[in-house]
């Protein structure tokens, strides 16, 4: 109920998801804080132990890089859920669907279309063809329904005034959805009364939604339904848990490259009863490793001949090859223009202000303010190689400046976004910590935005680094049903 207050809570600078400047609780969080304060700190500490026990038993742990002992930590999910009310979500949902449609139209235009967007000079052709994510072998490859990016993970942040902005698109093999489902399952068990008091949109249907999208890609009608498999690089991959989880959720076989074989441009899997035909491959293997016959000869992760089967239209693959060109950070600044070009609509979700470093004016401006900006290498993902201006030393900034001058195509510079913050349990007290959001968008015969997504939390005070390998945590993310 409005009017409730959080005593002793210190808001961070910027937008707080749950708490107003007056320290009043935002109304859609009232029931949750009411329940949490009813339980009290000692009880919540014991619920945290229960949460850890659940994750440990399920084996949901991750290795901490730089920890010499090789110890595994249990998955850090904060007990305070992140809540999006129906109105907020409706806007995000429309914005994500719009963006994903435009990105798929862009990919379709590049790989099987007339490249109208390049012809009309909306996106510079040289930028596209110099992208590491542009895969020449994918030109002409069919994609049913134009669904090239079947699973997209689009990272959103919320700036000073509460506006959601797109920080980056992840269109290749985005991960994290298994944690969304596990967080929900765990929180429901640890704090059952919390979720019982709100009407939350469910997430457990993800496996079935993904399977529906993948089925819609099947290249031909088959007698007993299309056969879908999950292709993983194998047990040593850091996301293997997720690959196994999704295979299990969909009832699909979890294959490695060596389990699949191509004969006469048809893909088969090797079973105890001989070879069985495969129709759709949900692959979690990078482009460069998919088909060693064409790409990396040294790869043992891929399936020799897969490209020929794709070309013949005998099998579908999700995500399609070459999606990386659309999540190249140098292409990202053009996504709003793509939306206008392909859909004739104004973008619903704005980008973060970005400087194109290959444009002399913008480069000069960015270099003069390097200590205030964030510089990112264009081809990397997962937070690698990022220089945060305000935190960087003079030496680091100097190195960064030289790298930009040598290879302006290789980087972009962005205004630093003051991420929104959220009350989070730290040593038994509620403290403000910065968060982001990775929602997932599925595209098959139609586009479906999955409610919520993965909220990541920077567990160190004042930090903007939310990656779990660097001390980040997560939150169960609720989207509330429309109130009656």
């Amino acid at each position: 109920m409005p009017g409730d207050r959080l005593p002793g809570y210190q808001r961070a600078a910027g937008f707080d998801e749950a708490i107003l400047e007056s320290l009043d609780v935002r109304s859609h969080y009232a029931a949750v804080f009411d329940e949490l304060s009813r339980l009290g700190a000692p009880e919540l500490a014991s619920r945290e132990r229960l949460r850890d026990a659940i994750f440990r038993r399920l084996g949901i742990t991750f290795a901490v890089y730089g920890d010499a002992s090789g110890a595994e930590r249990t998955w850090p999910m904060d007990l305070v859920p992140r809540i999006l009310h129906a109105g907020e979500w409706a806007e995000i949902e429309r914005g994500l669907a719009q963006r994903t449609r435009a990105l798929n139209l862009f990919l379709e235009d590049l790989y099987v279309g007339e490249r109208a967007i390049l012809r009309d000079g909306i996106v510079p052709a040289w930028l596209v063809f110099s992208s590491e994510g542009f895969v020449r072998e994918a030109v002409g490859l069919p994609a049913p329904h134009g669904a090239r990016c079947v699973v997209a993970g689009i990272d959103l942040v919320r700036d000073f005034d509460g506006t959601f902005r797109v920080l980056e698109d992840n269109l290749r093999t985005p991960s994290g959805i298994s944690y969304v489902l596990q967080n929900r399952a765990a929180l429901t068990r640890v704090l059952p009364r919390l979720s019982a008091r709100c009407r939350i949109r469910p997430v457990h249907q993800y496996g079935s939604s993904l399977l529906t999208a993948l089925h819609s890609l099947a290249p031909h009608a088959s007698h007993d339904g299309p056969r879908v498999v999950v292709l993983t690089p194998g047990i040593w991959n850091s996301a293997y848990f997720e690959h196994a989880f999704l295979a299990q959720q969909m009832g699909a076989e979890l294959c490695e490259g060596r389990d699949l074989v191509v004969e006469d441009q048809v893909v088969y899997m090797r079973t105890t009863r001989g070879l069985e035909r495969v129709d759709v491959i949900y692959r979690r293997v990078d482009d460069a490793f998919v088909d060693p016959a064409l790409f990396r000869q040294d790869s043992v992760l891929g399936v020799p001949g897969l490209i020929s089967a794709l070309r013949a239209g005998n099998v579908s693959i999700a995500n399609s090859l070459g999606c990386g060109v659309a999540d190249d950070k140098a292409v990202y600044p053009y996504v709003p223009a793509m939306i206008r070009f392909y859909l004739g609509e104004e973008p619903i979700l704005p980008n973060v202000e970005t400087y194109l470093l290959w444009e002399p004016d913008q480069r000069e401006h960015a270099l003069s303010r390097l200590d205030q900006l964030v510089v990112k290498p264009v081809a990397a993902s997962g937070g690698y190689g990022i220089v945060m201006g305000p935190q960087a030393t003079a030496d680091q900034l100097e190195i960064c400046r030289k790298e930009i001058e040598q290879n302006p195509r290789g980087f972009i510079a962005q205004e630093l976004v003051q991420l929104s913050s959220h009350p989070t349990f730290i040593d038994g007290k509620l403290e403000a910590r910065h968060i982001d959001l990775r929602p997932f968008v599925l595209t098959g015969a139609r586009t479906e935005v999955f409610p919520g997504g993965l909220t990541r939390v920077a567990l160190r005070r004042g930090s903007f680094v939310v990656n779990s390998s660097q001390g980040g945590g997560s939150k169960d993310t609720w989207v509330l049903e429309e109130s009656a």
Binding site: A244, E253, R270
Partner: protein, 318 residues
């Protein structure tokens, strides 16, 4: 199911059984020596190494035989692919590859067995309380198998896991009998065959059928031909046959079943008195080589379409 997954389950079963059987054999050999009456220390341990086809590799590494050295070699040597610690590690590795096909309880039992054994100072325990360690390994292996038996549906993953255990067990029983059989005329025969029965927990079952008369030829016949005792060769062969029938939806398992049928028929129609009169060597040899053949045919029939990494050790060449 995927051929690679079936193969991993099959080998998880084999390695688990190998660990258990090795612990059993070590335990009775050790106790046989303590209780006395048996042959000298060296030949007892050599016999065990021969039964496990490990005499040559052992002597390549160690100049002589001692209780300590053999026990460490068979239990704790991580570089010895058949040691108990290696077998458990391989069973776990295979299981980890097919985690989504196993029940959580089976996986937890196997995983914690591996993690705990790895964390302990096995050499110190072998020096202080070997029997305790052997007993614990045996119990843990039984817990793993039992957890699987009580929680896994009787579908193909379960069948391949069980198939691995049965084939390994039948083969181990044959190996032990082959090594012991030539010694039955020795003065220590009685003692030797008491150990044989003990090593497969068969003394009670044998006594119930034959009384306390530990006659070497009867022991051999019992462990080969008993239709009821779950570690006898015939019992394992029959159970294997049933599994292959269930895995069969047409032609695939015809070849392993044909070979198995031959062994099964010979054992089922074998007369125990005849066996005593004419010697068991021929029957035993045919059973063991038949089991090897079945194992190879299982690989060819069910796993051949799968990828074939060289990662398993097995068979007559070892």
């Amino acid at each position: 199911m995927l051929a690679r997954h079936a193969e991993d389950l099959f080998w998880a079963g084999r390695y688990l059984e190998r660990a258990e059987d090795t612990a059993r054999m070590l335990d009775v050999t050790y106790h046989g020596l303590l209780e006395g009456g048996s042959s000298d220390t060296e030949s007892a341990w050599r016999l065990l190494l021969e039964a496990l086809h490990l005499a040559h590799p052992y002597y390549a590494k160690h100049p002589s035989v001692s209780s300590r050295a053999v026990a460490e070699y068979l239990v704790a040597d991580p570089n010895q692919p058949s040691s108990i610690i290696s077998a458990i590690a391989r069973a776990r590795e295979n299981a980890r590859n097919v985690r989504e096909h196993l029940s959580t309880e089976l996986w937890e039992a196997l995983n914690s067995c591996f993690l705990e054994l790895r964390a302990r100072d096995l050499e110190a325990e072998l020096a202080a309380q070997p029997h305790e360690l052997y007993r614990e390994i045996r119990t843990r292996c039984q817990t793993i198998a039992g957890a699987g038996g009580e929680t896994m549906p009787r579908s193909d993953p379960w069948r391949f896991f069980r198939l691995g255990r049965l084939i390994e067990r039948a083969e181990m029983t044959c190996r032990m009998l082959r090594v012991r059989a030539p010694r039955r005329a020795l003065r220590s025969g009685f003692h030797d065959f008491l150990l044989v029965l003990n090593s497969v927990s068969a003394l009670e079952a044998y006594t119930r059928v034959h009384g306390a008369d530990i006659d070497p030829a009867r022991v051999i016949a019992f462990l080969l031909l008993s239709p009821d005792f779950p570690r006898s060769v015939l019992f394992c062969v029959r159970a294997t046959d049933e599994l292959l029938t269930q895995l069969d939806t047409g032609a695939p398992s015809a070849r392993p079943r044909r070979t198995l049928g031959r062994i099964r028929a010979e054992l089922e129609y074998q007369d125990a008195d005849e066996l005593r009169a004419f010697g068991e060597k021929g029957v035993l040899d045919r059973a063991q080589s038949g089991i090897w053949e079945v194992a190879e045919l299982v690989e060819e029939t069910f796993f051949a379409s799968g990828p074939q990494p060289q990662r398993h050790i097995f068979g007559p060449a070892a």
